[in-house]
């Protein structure tokens, strides 16, 4: 079915995911590992940062902010930190999981490159606590890297030193939000900080300027240094440069992580091509899909031909987010799907600010009632208005009455489900049961 020409550079970040024991230093070195770092250390730190700027590498954590620009905003200070966000815990998002478990050295190499470019001597990798195997391998890799001289004092004789600490999270989705992550790293409750003034680049970890980068973002750095920022920027489309991993899940035949060149692939390619998703499970019709994780508004089949770029998706009222694509086939109950997603946010709301703390639970309760056949017709408007009080206007990108973006993430799936499948809601209410139950 596919007629895409796969870029010769691909795969970049995922190239070792298929290699046996790539998490070991030996394998890593035999596949070109730490060459990017060695090259970076020969360059001026500013030049390394320049290459990243030229690469137009967009952050892979969800917001899609250009990494080079983020770095350039770091406030000069004697003490500054680099923190890597490995707290990947949103349902359907599992790209960093693979990178951590299968290619931890690439992350470490990226961290050292970034630290060198930023002049940082202390970096942290905040890794989701539930990644037991990932944590084990990451720590083992870090130990190996220290022994190898790639981390620690006077790296490869360059005179540059950086220490890296792997810190396990304690099981809270909110700690994937960068300011909560910093709070948690400081040993405090994982509560988001208010921006302004707490922009990490100015007032970050321990109130020092801090860069927070995603696992996949830094995993790209060794390649960018080796091949040049221009080579990276030459791939992709518009401002969405290079390639990225899409975590495909839901009712597709071949779920998994696929690294594709940005903009050269459409959702249709990703979901239906044999080399990617391979089509809808049970060969049923596609009902809808979430283009960028459960925080993102849903798309219907009419959006299948959108190219995978940030702009294209944003223009149609959703987001690429963390690159998680979730497919619903026609057997999926949209009410149940939206309820399940709302239940996740309810469980994970940190409780710091009122609208999210109380609203998330209320939305979950209303959705549960509708799904289980106990809804009232007015509940449809009610749930929309409860959502509106978290994200006024229910527009995209959302406005918010909350401190952080977890709050306005909650309405996305609810509003999508109501707008796209209102009849299903009405059927649930009228029939007094879930109409998809067999």
């Amino acid at each position: 079915m596919s007629d895409i020409i796969v870029n010769k550079n691909l795969p970049i970040v995922s190239k070792r995911l298929g290699i046996e024991e790539a998490y070991k230093l030996e394998t890593y070195l035999s596949t070109g590992g730490y060459e990017g770092l060695k090259k970076a250390l020969q360059m001026n730190p500013e030049d390394v940062a320049d290459e990243v700027m030229k690469a137009s590498l967009l952050g892979r954590g969800g917001a899609g902010f250009p990494a080079g620009r983020k770095w350039s905003m770091l406030k000069p200070a004697r003490v500054k930190y680099l923190v890597i966000n490995g707290d990947e815990s949103e349902p359907a998002t599992f790209k960093d999981h693979d990178l951590i478990e299968r290619d931890p050295h690439q992350i470490i190499e990226g961290v050292v490159v970034a630290s060198y470019a930023l002049g940082v001597n202390q970096a942290f990798i905040f890794c989701r606590g539930e990644f037991a195997l990932g944590l084990e391998r990451l720590q083992a890799a870090l130990n190996e890297a220290y022994d190898y001289g790639a981390v620690g004092a006077d790296i490869f004789g360059s005179g540059f030193s950086v220490d890296i600490v792997v810190h396990p999270g304690a099981g809270a989705y909110i700690c994937g939000e960068e300011t909560s992550l910093l709070q948690s790293l400081e040993g405090k409750r994982g509560y988001p900080r208010i921006k302004p003034p707490y922009f990490p680049a100015v007032m970050g970890l321990y109130n020092q300027p801090t860069v927070v980068n995603n696992i996949e973002t830094v995993s790209n750095l060794p390649w960018i240094v080796l091949n040049g920022g221009d080579a990276f920027a030459a791939m992709g489309q518009d401002s969405s440069a290079g390639s990225r991993i899409f975590a495909l899940s839901g009712q597709v035949k071949r779920p998994g992580n696929y690294e594709v060149e940005m903009g050269k692939v459409t959702f249709r390619n990703l979901i239906f091509d044999e080399s990617y998703g391979g089509g809808i499970l049970d060969d049923l019709a596609l009902k809808a899909f979430i283009p960028g994780g459960v925080s993102a508004p849903w798309f219907g089949p009419e959006h299948l031909d959108l190219p995978l770029t940030q702009e294209a998706i944003a223009n149609k009222g959703s987001m690429l987010g963390s690159g998680s694509v979730v497919v619903f086939n026609e057997s999926t109950c949209p009410v149940k799907a939206a309820w399940r997603i709302s239940k996740f946010f309810y469980r994970e709301s940190c409780g710091q600010c009122t609208p999210c703390r109380e609203g998330s639970g209320w939305i979950e309760k209303i959705m549960h009632r509708i799904e289980t056949g106990n809804g009232r017709m007015e509940d449809i408007d009610l749930v929309m208005d409860v959502c509106d009080n978290i994200a006024p206007g229910l527009s995209w990108p959302p406005k918010q009455t909350t401190i952080c973006v977890l709050g306005p993430s909650i309405p996305s799936s609810i509003v999508s489900a109501v707008n796209m499948f209102k009849q299903d809601f009405i059927d649930h209410i009228e029939k007094g049961k879930c109409t998809f139950d067999k």
Partner: protein, 904 residues
């Protein structure tokens, strides 16, 4: 709120101001001021829950969202969190704002029980009030609310109802940010978040009541008030707390003529809305079963109720005899619980009409009054604004809790440096350079501190000395130093304290040095100001300067300086004193030499006690007169700064109890004398007429600014900008709009009494209210601990402070806030709080005794022995043992001095 043309020009000139528009009204506010406060200046109230003006904003409740124009259009922003900036356009009333407010309130109520009819907060509840004003009429929530077991006691004083909690974090932030004790925190997340204590660690903060006061719902309640009243039945007056010498401003609230609650008032100069639990809950003592209900006299050996005429006649008879002959055979001890007016009345009775100067109301650990009146006094605000703060003596958290909070705040927010010269580690030690002292090494330590640490191998002394030197070397008159001082011991003065203070005053010149005394009895400053001390007369003058008093009827002024408390008791013990008058002092439990006190009580002919509660001393009296107590009496109070503020009555006391000044007047009447006044106002008028330090109150003391007036008054008016207060915390405090501006500051004071006089201590020129003997530079001499004892057992050896074989140590008896004195013992709830009976020793002593933290040790002094739990504290000097002044340690007080043997 100004929008006139002239101001506009000013704004451009003044970089500390910004101009913005709020709801179409242009306002000029300080740069950095929060929008919620800027809105108040525009006359717009923004509803709020989590915001408290005395704490860092957190912006979590989202109630105060307002619309702020931005390049991307108006956005909702928490007005408690966003600082005002030039050109901002803010809308507090837009549809978006109203919908957000409505939404937040509806959210808050989905899990908040509607048990308002049985909730103590109902009727004064910000959640209720703001729901009515800004919220939905009805909830659309039809599901089951969240449930928790309710209420749970999180301390002896505080109960927590987690269902009512709206997670505003005011209480948890107070505990951590203001009190510095994170004993409560959130547990769980989302709408299951609950305030919790740590496992098996109760919320035993001295400041726990503040969390109840600032809770915007009924989640935290205090036992003394639970189910006592409905807010609409409350009446309140603004008064002054008299549980220590800080003099916090309080709202005393009553219902059905019974005091039910004290709340702290936000007065910038003093307590900034906080109170300690002793001050807040101590009022329960007025309803104690031990309260004196009627005059009593022994009838066939037992104290029995008598009528006032009977009692007064008896007392007048005794006093009249002394008036005729033998004015030196009567002595008066105590009085620091009195109002200034009552103290003046007693002083006039004893000194002016009977003619004795044997009056000593000073705390037993004061030493002399020279430093109080001779040194330049710091206000609490001046201490908080100092670059260097030196505390000498007691643990402020125990003796002046709110001063402790203020100093802690100054260190954290202003980065003031702190040198703590004290007998053990305190909660301030972590921010301070702590220097260990005891009685015997004090002079030596101060000398080393002033000599750059020379001659000391103590690293802390060297560090502190360097800090002192660096401040002195700035030689900058804009740099200021505050010295907060007291004795280290609850019972005895610190020898050489005065000399040390004079040395310190000289040392820093020309850097400004100010002193703040921490007096260990509540109105000690006021009653001394009223002359209740040998050689003193009202207004900080001395016997030789009695000119003014004679004009108002002080006919029998003594010429001979009187005898102090210790000597009076010795006279009584030796049957050389006929009459002992005790005013609010229970010498049989409180005096440091209990043997002496017992002998005195046994041997004195007439023991007249004027008290509020029955105690062990007045049980042996020949006449007991019942007096009114806080919330039942009116008058004024003078705190450690010299700040005069009002004490107001709210309820009537026991029907036969009488205010002290009226007791004095009745006695004088019965003696056939005329005091010259019959009302409080007349006393106040007389004080401001004849007491030099109290000159300048043109309408008498009764009219004071709500934050009081510091005496002696300066000749320049003082104006202080009003700070925002928390409108949802103490509703109906009338003074909030007037605080900060002493009404009568700026009054003209005759130059002979003015504070403009300067004098010199060493080479330092200082100004002070000079009517007492000049505060002279005194040489620091080493004195041994034993000399502090009254009839010291010198065999214990001066030259041998420690006996390595027997572990002979110097004992320091320190004050604790929750002691077992009359106030705590008589207050129903506070009396249940257990105080730990500990002895603090240095690591080296622990080593030599062979004990560890948590072990128990025995202290032996003469034949007395007492057992304590060991706390090992590196802030304790070697060969020193610190015990609290509690019943358990009282067996050790006596004439045997301070050297105790420490045994396992």
């Amino acid at each position: 709120m100004t929008s006139s043309d002239q101001t506009e020009d000013k704004v451009e000139l003044d970089p500390s101001k910004v101009k913005l528009t709020i709801d179409g009204i242009e306002v000029v506010v300080n740069k950095g001021e929060l929008l919620i406060e800027a809105a108040a200046k525009a006359g717009k109230f923004v509803p709020r829950f989590c915001y408290h003006p005395r704490m860092e904003p957190v912006g979590v409740c989202r109630m105060c969202l307002v619309e702020v124009d931005s390049p991307r259009g108006p956005t909702l922003q928490p007005s408690c969190y966003v600082p005002a900036d030039n050109g901002m356009v803010v809308n507090t009333q837009s549809e978006a704002v109203k919908k957000a407010q409505n939404g937040v309130l509806e959210y808050l109520l989905i899990n908040h029980p509607l048990d308002c009819p049985v909730c103590d907060k109902g009727g004064e509840c910000p959640l209720q009030d703001q729901t009515v004003a800004y919220g939905p009429g009805e909830s659309r929530f039809i599901e089951e609310k969240r449930h928790f077991a309710k209420p749970i006691a999180i301390s002896q004083l505080v109960e927590l109802d987690r269902e009512r909690c709206i997670q505003c974090s005011r209480c948890t932030r107070f505990s951590e940010e203001i009190a510095g004790e994170a004993e409560i925190d959130f547990l769980g997340r989302g709408d299951r978040t609950e305030v919790a204590i740590f496992p098996s660690q109760p919320f035993d903060s001295y400041f726990s009541g503040n969390t109840v006061q600032i809770c915007p719902v009924g989640a935290l309640t205090a036992k003394p008030y639970r189910f006592k009243s409905r807010p609409w039945d409350l009446e309140q007056v603004e008064s002054t707390c008299t549980s220590c010498s800080v003099g916090c401003r309080v709202a005393a609230q009553s219902s059905a003529n019974q005091v039910v609650r004290y709340l702290g008032i936000d007065v910038d100069e003093i307590n900034q809305s906080w109170l300690c639990d002793r001050g807040r809950f101590g009022f329960e003592s007025i309803y104690s079963a031990n309260r004196l209900q009627a005059p009593m006299m022994p009838i066939s050996g037992n104290l029995q109720d008598v009528s006032w005429p009977q009692a007064i006649e008896k007392v007048a008879e005794v006093f009249a005899e002394h008036q005729l002959k033998g004015a030196d055979k009567i002595g008066i001890i105590g009085g620091s619980r009195l109002t200034n007016e009552s103290a003046y009345a007693y002083t006039k009775l004893f000194k002016g009409l009977i003619g004795t100067d044997n009056v000593d109301a000073a705390p037993f650990n004061l030493g002399s009054v020279n430093s109080l009146y001779g040194l330049k006094t710091a206000t609490i605000n001046e201490v908080a604004e100092s670059d260097l703060i030196i505390t000498i003596g007691s643990n402020l958290k125990e003796t002046a809790p709110i001063l402790f909070l203020r100093i802690r705040d100054a260190i954290l927010k202003r980065d003031s440096k702190l040198v703590e010269v004290g007998p053990y580690s305190t909660p301030l030690s972590e921010y301070a350079t702590h220097v260990n002292i005891n009685f015997s090494n004090f002079s030596e330590v101060i000398s080393s501190l002033l000599n750059g640490g020379n001659g000391s191998d103590d690293k802390q002394i060297t560090l502190a000395a360097e800090l002192l030197k660096s401040v002195a070397q700035t030689a900058d008159a804009n740099v200021s130093v505050a010295i907060v001082y007291s004795s280290i011991d609850a019972n005895r003065p610190l020898d050489n304290l005065e000399a040390a203070l004079s040395k310190l005053a000289t040392f820093f010149s020309p850097v400004t040095v100010r002193f703040l005394p921490v007096l260990s009895k509540p109105n000690a400053m006021g009653v001394l100001d009223m002359g209740m001390y040998p050689n003193l007369l009202p207004g900080r003058s001395v016997l030789s300067s009695a000119k003014l008093l004679k004009e108002v009827g002080w006919e029998k002024l003594p010429t001979k300086v009187g005898v102090d408390a210790t000597n009076l008791l010795e006279m009584a013990a030796a049957s050389k004193l006929d009459t002992l008058v005790l005013i609010g002092t229970d010498i049989l439990t409180d005096f440091y030499d209990l043997e002496l006190a017992e002998k005195a009580v046994a041997n004195v002919k007439n023991l007249i006690c004027i008290d509020t509660h029955i105690n062990s001393t007045n049980a042996k009296a020949t006449c007991v007169l019942p007096a009114l107590y806080d919330a039942e009496r009116s008058g004024t109070f003078t705190n450690m700064e010299g700040r005069v503020s009002k004490i107001a009555s709210k309820v009537t006391g026991p029907s036969l109890a009488v205010d002290d000044w009226a007791i004095a007047v009745q006695i004088a009447d019965s003696m056939g004398e005329d005091m010259g006044f019959e009302s409080l106002e007349e006393i106040q008028a007389e004080i401001s007429q004849v007491a030099p330090a109290y000159f300048g109150f043109s309408k008498g003391l009764n009219v004071l600014g709500e934050s009081g007036v510091v005496v002696p008054m300066g000749s320049k008016p003082v104006s202080i900008e009003r700070r925002p207060h928390d409108p949802i915390e103490v509703p109906g405090i009338a003074s909030t709009n007037h605080q900060g501006t002493p009404l009568y500051a700026g009054a003209v004071i005759p130059s002979e009494y003015s504070d403009e006089n300067t004098f010199k201590v060493g080479s330092v020129s200082m100004s002070y209210f000079r009517l007492v003997d000049e505060f002279k530079e005194i040489t620091l001499e080493s004195k041994s601990a034993v000399s502090s004892g009254t009839s010291g057992d010198d065999k214990n050896s001066k030259s041998r402070p420690a006996d390595q074989d027997r572990n002979i140590c110097e004992m320091v008896v320190v004050e604790s806030l929750m002691d077992d004195g009359t106030l705590i013992k008589s207050a129903a709830t506070l009396s249940e709080i257990k105080t730990d009976n500990v002895a603090k020793i240095s690591p080296s002593l622990a080593n030599s005794v062979g004990c560890h933290a948590g072990d128990s040790i025995k202290l032996k002094l003469g034949s007395a022995e007492a057992e304590f739990d060991v706390v090992v504290d590196s802030g304790v000097a070697e060969n020193t043992v610190i015990v609290k002044k509690l019943d358990a340690s009282k067996v050790l007080y006596g004439s045997n001095g301070l050297l105790v043997e420490v045994k396992k």
